[in-house]
């Protein structure tokens, strides 16, 4: 409400903002209990001047890269603050009516049309990735957060670079490369890219990277597990003879990055990595429930979280205690719970589910693994 002049150039005389805030107050009074944003959203969801929580984008196109991957081009709302190649964006997608959040690397530098793009590889069983690759269509809306991430090239760009990527680990790197190569005066940087994939056909951006190699923009080392065997990082010294002169950036699965870190540490070389954290929730029966007030309770798989919390003296909102009144709904920041009525699992993973956690009904949910409950979040 207060940030009326936060975006756009300041216009008019000194009395401008006062007049605008007065008008805004009248407009707000005219639409209560809605907020002005709710009303504007009906007509122009991509407009600027709103809080970050409402940042959205419209899918412009979905372009297949391989059989199981696609690049999603998105026109973001006007409040999109831009990004540096190598950064990622958190994306909220409605899959089967349910909003799920995932993180994807941006695969472009800043574009003239202000669009952003990210490339998704459909992982087996991946609800969101499969949705985006196979079912997302132009025109659909998605939720966005501002770009984040430290995996960016330093300025000025070092003279010699080594980029090591595996599988979808190429996605932040392709953003860096495209940005470097699209400049009118190409950056005078000597780049070697070691690009590891399971097979030639599953290699995202294969042709684009080969074209860069042919054009002399970079030295491309392609490694395919099915042809060359799984990459042993000790081989790097052979593959990249001037390894010691290069600043290394790597992105890929944890196994590769761990090995690479050890390899570089042994040689006293600098390495910057980006880790994609996989969703690792193994739902079980019962678990440690941690509440926002600091208390921890061991709870079995049959006890409602509400009872467990109250038993430990946590102040919990409550209601009907039978799952109908929603009086006990509080966010679960992380963890897994099971619906005691039908066994349905609800999982919250920071960075993967909504930024506020997943609201759960504590009276019919039992711990299905360790979980964090923010019981105070309702007393807004």
């Amino acid at each position: 409400m207060a940030s009326i002049s936060a975006s756009g150039p300041v216009r008019g005389r000194a009395s401008g903002p006062t007049l605008r805030s007065a008008l805004r107050r009248v407009a707000e009074a005219a639409v209560t209990p809605l907020e002005l944003d709710d009303v504007f959203d009906v007509f122009h969801p991509l407009r600027g001047g709103r809080d970050d929580a409402g940042l959205r984008g419209r899918i412009v196109s979905v372009t297949p890269e391989t059989a199981e991957s696609a690049t999603i081009l998105v026109k973001p709302g006007r409040d999109w603050a831009g990004h540096v190649p190598g950064q990622y964006v958190r994306v909220g997608v409605d899959v089967d009516g349910v909003r799920l959040w995932r993180t994807y690397s941006l695969t472009h530098g800043p574009r003239r049309d202000r669009c952003l793009s990210f490339t998704v590889k459909a992982i087996p069983g991946g609800v969101v990735s499969n949705h985006l690759v196979h079912r997302a269509r132009a025109g659909q809306m998605i939720q966005l957060e501002q770009a984040e991430g430290e995996f960016v090239l330093p300025v000025p760009i070092p003279r010699k670079l080594l980029l090591v990527t595996a599988g979808s680990g190429i996605t932040p790197v392709i953003g860096m490369l495209r940005n470097l190569f699209s400049r009118r005066v190409p950056a005078a940087t000597d780049i070697t890219l070691v690009h590891v994939n399971q097979s030639e056909s599953s290699a995202i951006f294969r042709d684009e990277l080969r074209a860069h190699g042919t054009a002399g923009n970079l030295t491309l080392v392609e490694r395919y597990d099915d042809r060359d065997g799984v990459l042993d990082v000790e081989l790097l010294d052979e593959l990249v003879p001037d390894l010691g002169d290069r600043l290394t950036y790597a992105c890929g699965p944890a196994g590769l990055l761990d090995a690479l870190e050890k390899h570089h540490a042994d040689r006293g070389l600098v390495l910057t990595t980006e880790r994609f954290r996989p969703v690792l929730v193994q739902p079980g029966d019962g678990g440690t429930v941690t509440f926002a007030d600091g208390r921890e309770v061991e709870s079995d798989g049959a006890t409602p979280i509400l009872d467990a919390g109250e038993g430990a003296g946590v102040l919990m909102p409550s209601g009907c205690r039978m799952g109908i009144c929603m009086g006990c709904v509080v966010p679960m920041r992380s963890g897994a719970v099971r619906d005691l009525r039908n066994g349905a699992l609800t999982v919250a993973v920071p960075g993967e589910t909504g930024p506020e956690g997943v609201p759960i009904q504590t009276c019919i949910s039992a711990a299905a693994g360790a979980c964090h409950i923010d019981e105070g979040a309702r007393s807004r």
Binding site: A30, V31, P33, D96, G319, M322, I324, M326, V329
Partner: protein, 415 residues
């Protein structure tokens, strides 16, 4: 109406007498299965539905308010007022009520969630969720516990002793209908009970809630009766716009009051005694109480939409957190269960249901059996009797009641 457990005392049958505890648990399992079928199938179609309804409602409201800027012209006034009334009804019924039930929480959209939603209603969402979702839906139709039965100001059962003040209850009920949103706010505050407590002893929570309700009322009234009329001022339509907003609010109130009366008040709906509810009511027993304590409205899709699908009150009470667009789909399955377990599925078209509910309000405003025993030939005597019961104190009331009971017994065989 007699509470279900006392029916045998009055020569009526308890409609659940034929069910064994095992039957009731089986019934619960079958209802759970119906619920689970919907949960398994819930998805894009449902989320698209609620988003469309919300979008249509917002466009309709904004459009109607734009039309009302020209409401100095009578045709525009009519058009804008009709549109605004419909928009307000949709906002309260199909959207607000159902969102606040958490029917759309599964979408994980913070904009359409029971914990964040606020509605165009005098009572703040948080307080309403307590009195409605928690008290009414848990203790449905338990006399003395479910205040939706008569909102604490009406005589809803023959077993409540008659008092002359109840003669005014049809009038109260009508007044409550016109200003229903304020009635609901007062009732969410438990205003009657709290005002009886000396001022300095009232709970702090009550004072806090009063402050919140007054704030909400102020904001809603400012919008409808000040800001929008003022916006129409340049077009010379301050007063017509104010009148249009007032009319739309009253129309919305009358409509929602009617729909809600149809849900639990018509003849054929059962009430329950507090003492008859076991301490640990099973899911099956709870389901059974919901089945018997609710009534449906049959009719077109438009009726279902405008009633917020409370036309499927029975299904709503069984599954308060299922998306409202699914009630029509589960209704045939639910009805088949009523038949299987030989229970009365109370459904009638809206005019009949409204009449039935109002008939009951009037009947219970009078002493027991008065209405049933009055006919054209004895109307003078009956009015005299009523006059006596009204003006001559408790003894006359007891005598009058006995007389009416006697008359009723005479009438009964003839009928």
């Amino acid at each position: 109406m007699t509470t279900i457990t006392k029916k045998p005392l009055h020569g009526e049958t308890n409609p659940t007498a034929h069910l064994t505890p095992e039957d009731i648990e089986l019934l619960g399992i079958e209802l759970d299965a119906i619920r689970q079928d919907v949960l398994d199938d819930r998805g894009d179609r449902d989320s698209a539905y609620i988003r469309r309804v919300i979008s249509v409602q917002r466009r309709l409201e904004l459009g109607s308010r734009a039309v009302l800027l020209g409401s100095a012209l009578p045709p525009l006034w009519v058009l804008g007022t009709v549109g605004l009334s419909v928009a307000k009804i949709l906002e309260n019924m199909e959207i607000g009520h159902n969102v606040l039930h958490g029917q759309w929480d599964w979408m994980r959209d913070p904009k359409i969630h029971s914990t964040t939603w606020e509605w165009d209603m005098a009572t703040p969402a948080e307080q309403w969720k307590h009195s409605h979702n928690e008290v009414h839906h848990t203790y449905t139709n338990i006399v003395g516990q479910d205040n939706d039965l008569g909102y604490g100001i009406m005589r809803v059962d023959e077993e409540q002793r008659w008092h002359p003040m109840y003669l005014a209850q049809p009038f109260w009920n009508f007044l409550n209908a016109c200003f229903f949103e304020y009635g609901i706010a007062a009732y969410d505050l438990e205003l009657g009970r709290n005002l009886r407590i000396p001022k300095d002893k009232r709970p702090a929570e009550f004072k806090d809630n009063v402050r919140k309700v007054l704030g909400k009322i102020r904001r809603q009234a400012t919008k409808d009766y000040l800001v929008h009329p003022a916006l129409a001022l340049p077009f010379g339509a301050f007063v017509p716009t104010l009148a249009a907003n007032f009319t739309a609010n009253v129309v919305r109130n009358l409509w929602s009051h009617s729909v809600i009366m149809c849900g639990h008040f018509p003849e054929g709906v059962e009430t329950f005694e507090r003492a008859s509810i076991p301490d640990h009511e099973t899911r099956g027993e709870w389901y059974l109480r919901q089945m018997l304590g609710s009534a449906n409205i049959s009719g077109s899709k438009a009726i279902h939409l405008m009633s917020g699908n409370l036309s499927h009150q029975i299904e709503h009470h069984l599954f308060p957190d299922l998306p409202s667009n699914r009630y029509a789909e589960v209704a045939p399955k639910v009805r088949a269960l009523f038949e299987k377990y030989d229970l009365n599925y109370c459904t009638r078209p809206m005019p009949q249901q409204v009449y039935s509910a109002w008939h009951k309000v009037v009947r219970l405003s009078l002493p027991n059996d008065w209405l049933a025993t009055t006919n054209r030939s004895n109307v003078v005597d009956q009015v005299k009797l009523l006059w006596g019961m009204t003006t001559k104190g408790p003894r006359a009331r007891r005598a009058g009641s006995a007389r009416l009971k006697q008359l009723a017994r005479k009438v009964a065989p003839a009928a």
